[in-house]
C-alpha cells in the first residue's frame, strides 16, 4: 500500500468511528466529541483530494467553532435533557433494529453496486486546485455573486439568532385583562384545535 493509502485508511477509520460515536453515545458531550473526530478525519481526506484550504477551513470553522456551538447548546439544554428516565426510550427500537438494518442495507447496496458495475471515477482535481490562491481566485472571480449573496446569509443568521435567543428587557406594560389571560389561568391552551389564544408571548 502507498503512503497515500495508509493516510486515507487512518482518516477513514477516524471519521467512521467518530460518526459511530456521534450517533451512539449516551452522553451528548461524547457525541459532540465523536463529531469532532469525524470532522478531523474528513479534513484529512480533503488534504488528500488536494483541497488544502478547505481542510484548513474545516478545522478552523467546524472543529473550532461549530462544535463549540454544539457543546454550548448541549450545556444549554442541561445535563438532564437526555435519558432522565435512564430506561427504555421509545427510540430504542430504532436504535437497535432499524438503524443497523438501514446501515446493512446501504452497505450491501454499495457492495453490490461496486460488484456489478465498473466503478466510475470522478475526474481528479489538479494538484493546485485547492490552494488558497486557487480558491480565492474562484471566490473573487467566477463566484463573486454567491460571495456577495453570502453576506445576506450571514446577516440573516445573526439577526435570526438575536430574534430567537435574546431575552427581552422590556418590562411588561399594563394591559387590560384579556380573554387569553383568563384562559391561561384557568387551564390554558388545551388542544391545538381548541387553542384560540396566541397571547402566550411571555414578556421577559
Amino acid at each position: 500500500m502507498t503512503p497515500g493509502g495508509y493516510f486515507f485508511g487512518v482518516c477513514a477509520v477516524v471519521a467512521v468511528l467518530g460518526a459511530l460515536a456521534t450517533i451512539s453515545a449516551r452522553n451528548p458531550i461524547r457525541g459532540a466529541m465523536g463529531l469532532l473526530a469525524t470532522i478531523v478525519g474528513i479534513a484529512g481526506m480533503y488534504v488528500q483530494l488536494s483541497a488544502q484550504f478547505l481542510a484548513a477551513i474545516q478545522l478552523i470553522v467546524y472543529a473550532g467553532a461549530v462544535v463549540v456551538l454544539f457543546v454550548f447548546v448541549i450545556m444549554l439544554l442541561g445535563p438532564d435533557a437526555h435519558g432522565a428516565d435512564g430506561g427504555k426510550r421509545p427510540g430504542s427500537w430504532a436504535r437497535w433494529i432499524a438503524a443497523p438494518l438501514v446501515s446493512v442495507l446501504l452497505l450491501g447496496g454499495a457492495v453490490l453496486l461496486a460488484r456489478v458495475s465498473t466503478p466510475q471515477r470522478f475526474r481528479a482535481a489538479p494538484p493546485g486546485h485547492g490552494t488558497i490562491e486557487a480558491v480565492g481566485g474562484d471566490v473573487f472571480g467566477r463566484a463573486l455573486v454567491p460571495f456577495e449573496l453570502s453576506t445576506a446569509l450571514l446577516i440573516v443568521a445573526a439577526v435570526g439568532a438575536i430574534a430567537i435567543a435574546r431575552s427581552r428587557a422590556t418590562k411588561p406594560s399594563e394591559r387590560p385583562a384579556s380573554v387569553g389571560a383568563t384562559r391561561r389561568l384557568f387551564g390554558g391552551a388545551i388542544h391545538p384545535r381548541d387553542a384560540r389564544t396566541v397571547d402566550d408571548e411571555v414578556a421577559r
Binding site: 466510475q120 454567491p146 440573516v156 435570526g160 439568532a161 430574534a163 422590556t170 384545535r193 389564544t197 411571555v202
Partner: protein, 510 residues
Amino acid sequence: MNLLFGLSPFLAVGVGALLLMLAEAFGKPNVAPGVETTDAGAGRAGELALGAAVILVIGAVLSVAVWVAGPESLPELTQVAPHLVIDKFTLFFSFTLCVGGALAALLAGGYLPEHGIDRSEFFPLLLLSTVGAMALSAAGDLLTLFVALETMSLGVYSLIGLRRGSPRAAEAALKYFLLGSFAAAIMLFGLALLYGATGHTDLAGIGAAVRSIGSPGSTVSAGKILISLVLVLVGLAFKVSAVPFHQWTPDAYEGAPTPAATYMAVAVKSAAFAVLLRVLLVGFGDERLASWGAGWPPALAVLAVLSMTVANLVAGRQESVKRMLAYSSIAHAGYALVGVVAAMRSPEAVSAVAFYLLAYTVSTAGAFGALILCGSRGAEAVSYEDLAGVGKRHPAAALAFSLFLFSLAGLPPTAGFFGKLYVFRTAIDSGLYTLAILGLVNSVIGAYYYLRVMVYLYMREPAPGAPRAVTMRSGFVATALVAAAIFVLLLGMAPGFTLDMASGAALTAR
C-alpha cells in the same frame, strides 16, 4: 450603470434590508411612559412594517421597470450570469415575491402589536429572506441556488420561532427547521453529485452535459444524473410542500405568527417553484429526461395528483381555519405542479405557472389577512366557530374573506379562476388529459371547504356563551386587504396584460 439598473430590484431590497436594520436598532423605542426597555425596536412595529412594505414595493416597481426596459437590451447583465440570470422569468417572479412580501409585512404591522408580539426583528428578517427568495428565482448556478435557498429558509425559520414562550411556536419552528435542514442536506447531496457527474455548477452547462449522454466521447454517467435528479426533486418538493413531503406544513403554519405563515405560503412557495422550473427546464431539459416515458414528468405528475387529492380530502376535515389554509396551500402546490409537468411540452405552461403563482400569492395573502382581521388580542380567530356571525358584525372583513376564498376556489371573476384556467388549458394542450381532469375534479372538491368558511361567516351565529372572536381594526391589515383585493379583481377581470407579461417570462426560461 446598466448593470446596476438591471440588478436594481435585488439591490433595492438588499440595501433596504440593511437600512431597515439600522432604523430598527438606532431608533427611539415607542413605549408607554414609565416602561423601561433596552430594545430600540420596542413598540415600533407599525413604522417598521411601513418601511418594509415601501422597500418591497420599490423592489416590485423596479422589477417592472427592468421588465419594461427589457433585460435583453442590457448586455452588461451577462456579467452576473449564470449566477444571477436576470431575464423576464426572474423579473416576473421577483415581482410576485416582492408583492407577497409586502403584503406579509403589512399584515405583520397590524398583527404583531395586536397580539402583543413585540418583535421588531420580524421586518429585517422578512426583507433578508425576500432577498434570498429573489436570488433563488434568479439562480442559474448551483452555488447561488444553495446560498439563496438557505438565506430564504433561515429567515423563515426564525420568523416562525419569534413567539417565544409559546410551546406551539417552538414546536412549529423546530419541526420546520429540522425537516427543512434535512431536505436541504438531501438536495445538497444531489447538487454535489450533479457537479461531480458533469463538472459544471451552472445549470446551462449541466443541461449541455446531460444532453451529451449517449453521444460518443461523453463521460457523463446517466445513473448519477438520475440519482441527483431524484435528490434535488425531493429537496424542492419539500420546499413547495407537495405530498408526501408536506407533513410539516399544517403544524408550521398553525404555530407560526399568521403573517409569517402568510409569507411561507406565498413567497417560499413561489420562489421554490421558480427554481424548480429553472432547474428542470435548463438543467434537466434533455428530451429523454423531460419526457413522459422516463425522467421527471411522471414523478412530478404523481406528486401533483397526490398533493391535490390528499390535501383536499384532509382540508375538508379540519376544524382550524389556519390548518385548512395550510392544506389549501398544499393543494395549490399540486395544481401548480400540473403546470410544471405540462412545461415539458409547452413553453406556455411556464407562463401559466408564473401567472398562477401570482394569483395564488395575492389570494392566499388576502385570505390570511382576512383571518387576522377576524380576531383580536387574546381571541385570535382560529376555528370555524370563531368566524360564526362575522358577516353581520364586520361585513367588510367577511366580504374580503369571501372574495379571496372565491379566488382560491377558482371561481370567476377572480384571479384564481384564470390561474387555474391557464394551467389546466396548457395541460390539455400538452395532451395531459388525465392530469387536467383530476385537477378539475379536485377544484370542485376544494370549493367545499372554502364555501364552508362562507357558510360560517354568513349563515351561523356563535353559540350562546361561546367565546366570540372580536374583529380587530388595523389600517395596515386593511391596506393589505384592499391591495390584495385590487390585484385579485384586476387579474380576474383583465388578465390579458399580466398574462402577456407572463408569456414573456415563458420564452426565456428554456
